[in-house]
Amino acid sequence: MTLDDLKPLFEKAHFIRAFEHEIAALSEAGDVPGLVHLCLGAELFEVALCANLEGPGDQVTGSHRSHGLALAMGADPVAVAAEILGRTGGLSEGLGGTQHLLAPEVGFLTSNGIVGGQVPLAAGAALSAKTLKTGGIGVAVMGDGATNQGAVFETMNLAVALKLPLLFVIENNGLGQSTSAHYASGGISPMARARGFGLAASHVEGGDITGCLKTVDRLVSWVRETGSPALVEASVPRLSGHYHGDEQLYRSAADSQPDPLEQFEDTLLRAGATATECHTIKTGAHAAAKAAVTAANQQADTSDEAVARWATRLGGAA
């Protein structure tokens, strides 16, 4: 990876960071209808993951915390922001919202309100890729908490049994809401458990851009070439609350973790970038994010027409 390869990733990661901050600000201003789960801390890993994927051949499904993934796969930022804001120009005219971002056009198949619910869906994308011989793969992204859901375990087995080109991705931030991953999984890591299912599995540190890129590349290539499933577990910090506004009284102030974006910047500096260059990239990314979110916030609310249209389509009572 050259410096020139890394810079756009740095820019994208900062774009996502800034985007989330803009959403947070609008949330405090009362402009966001629902509770938002921000991806602060996972941006580096997510851009590294998606740098190795290409929609719509590859299709990613994500959790409730998927703003960053949708953006990293290339969804239009204004449409993503508008969806989060519940506006007419949203990906789905604001019908879905923050937990239901769908951009299959660019390979982000769907995010999900049900912990783990997105995982079998990614197996479906993998089955389509295999059956239709598109060369694509399915990617199921989830948190550590999701790895205790039955449907997730089943899908690990199913992918092994049916030999599906499916990459499982665990963003392990050590917490599921207020519960520690260690407690919830009896001290067993997602990677270790996945190996018990016969999955090829690796671990990466979410602050290590070159490590993330290398490992994701290796696993994605393996899934693509062998048509078999694999798993990558990324340790990422959860730099903010479970949702924006979560006071996190259950968490002691002492457990603060390094910020992957600062680690990324250090990597760039070590590789020869200047502080000014980094600053310029960040400023540009922040401005772009602000522009996108602001544009979305000028749009009108979802309409009752959109609801009426679906009511007519779906039948039901007379």
Binding site: Q59, T61, L91, S92, E93, L95, G96, H100, L102, P104, E105, L109, T110, N112, G113, I114, G117, V119, P120, L121, A122, A123, G124, A125, L127, S128, A129, T131, L132, G138, G150, A151, E154, T155, N157, L158, A161, L162, A306, W310, L314, G315, G316, A317, A318
Partner: protein, 338 residues
């Protein structure tokens, strides 16, 4: 026209569909059968509906699964979002429990959440019905639960032509469709047009025509009701017997027009006595066509208990032709003495 069983009609419909469209895959437990078992013949599903498909279309398109309904129904849903047309066999509708999130939240809501940016040509075939002492977890007719969920289409064929035709319509539908096949009817025979034409979702059928009352029934209950109607004919009572065939969307026009003529409504429902199909139909008619009703509408349903196993107990639980006959007679008497 050929005479065949519901099982065979469904099998032929699968063959037709799969031969015509490469994107159709069939997914379920033991549907080819014998996966990983040396020697031996194809099983073709525990009810034999998918017999021969494995040999003909190969294991890439006839996919035997582990006993993992949540993940394979979810997989089928994801596949339907991305270019395939999966037909899933869920062995018994009683098993929806283990896969319910993928049905309730994923399959049912996906098109709405995408605001229609993709079709979801997913078909879930499943079985229902009491009467063979399969007991509390292999006999339920859970269409009433699924019909409550916006985004799902629900159909319950009662004849070979309808079974094949509704399967064809379901595969062609942009919305996910759940087909409930009654276990007791797989051997039921009837005439089927040679090209097995699709039966549009949302179109009911007037099975018998009459003057005295409107009886609405589907699945096995349609046949029980037909027997009741025949026995009433002998007494000079004629009945509009309507098999709505699909529950969502429901052909309320057909039902309402009949009630306007007869003034009397009986709904027979093996599903549930509370908030199911019977209540939905009765409520809709009472709300929208109150003036057409000459007497209180009647529901013929099982009691509010799980399904008993022993023969006498199960018989007492199920509605039968004579229960239906008695209900119709009581309704008509009631009117005469009112």
């Amino acid at each position: 026209m050929t005479r065949m069983s519901i099982r065979d009609a469904l099998n032929r419909a699968h063959q037709d569909l799969m031969a015509a469209d490469d994107t159709i895959v069939v997914i379920g437990e033991d549907i080819a059968g014998g996966a990983g078992v040396k020697g031996g013949a194809e099983l073709g599903g525990v009810f034999g509906v998918t017999r021969g498909l494995g040999a003909k279309f190969g294991e890439g398109r006839v996919i035997d699964t582990p006993i993992s309904e949540a993940s394979f129904i979810g997989m089928a849903t994801g596949a339907a979002m991305t270019g395939l047309k999966p037909i899933v066999e869920l062995m018994f509708s009683d098993f929806i429990g283990v896969a319910f999130d993928q049905i309730l939240n994923q399959a049912a809501k996906a098109r709405f959440l995408a605001n229609g940016r993709f079709d979801l040509p997913l078909v879930i075939r499943t079985t229902m019905g009491a009467g063979d002492s399969s007991a509390a977890m292999h006999s339920q007719s859970l269409y009433g639960v699924l019909a409550q969920i916006p985004g799902l289409m629900v159909a319950c064929p009662s004849t070979p032509a309808d079974a094949a035709g509704l399967l064809k319509a379901a595969v062609g539908s942009p919305d996910p469709v759940v087909l409930f096949e009654h276990k007791g009817l797989y051997g039921h025979e009837g005439d089927v047009a040679d090209d097995l034409p699709a039966v549009p979702l949302g179109k009911g059928r007037l099975v018998t025509e009459g003057e005295s009352a409107t009886v609405v029934a589907l699945g096995a209950m349609r046949h029980a009701a037909e027997a009741a109607v025949t026995s009433l004919e002998a007494r000079g009572i004629s009945i509009d017997l309507i098999d709505p065939r699909t529950i969502v969307p429901l052909d309320l026009t057909l039902i309402a027009n009949s009630v306007k003529k007869t003034g009397h409504l009986v709904v027979v429902d093996e599903g549930t006595d509370f908030g199911g199909f019977a209540d939905a139909v009765i409520s809709a008619v009472a709300r929208d066509h109150f003036g057409a009703l000459k007497a209180a509408p009647v529901a013929v349903t099982p009691p509010h208990t799980p399904i008993p196993y022993g023969r006498a107990g199960e018989h007492a639980w199920l509605p039968h032709a004579d229960t239906i006959t008695a209900a119709i007679l009581a309704l008509l008497d009631m009117q005469e003495t009112a």
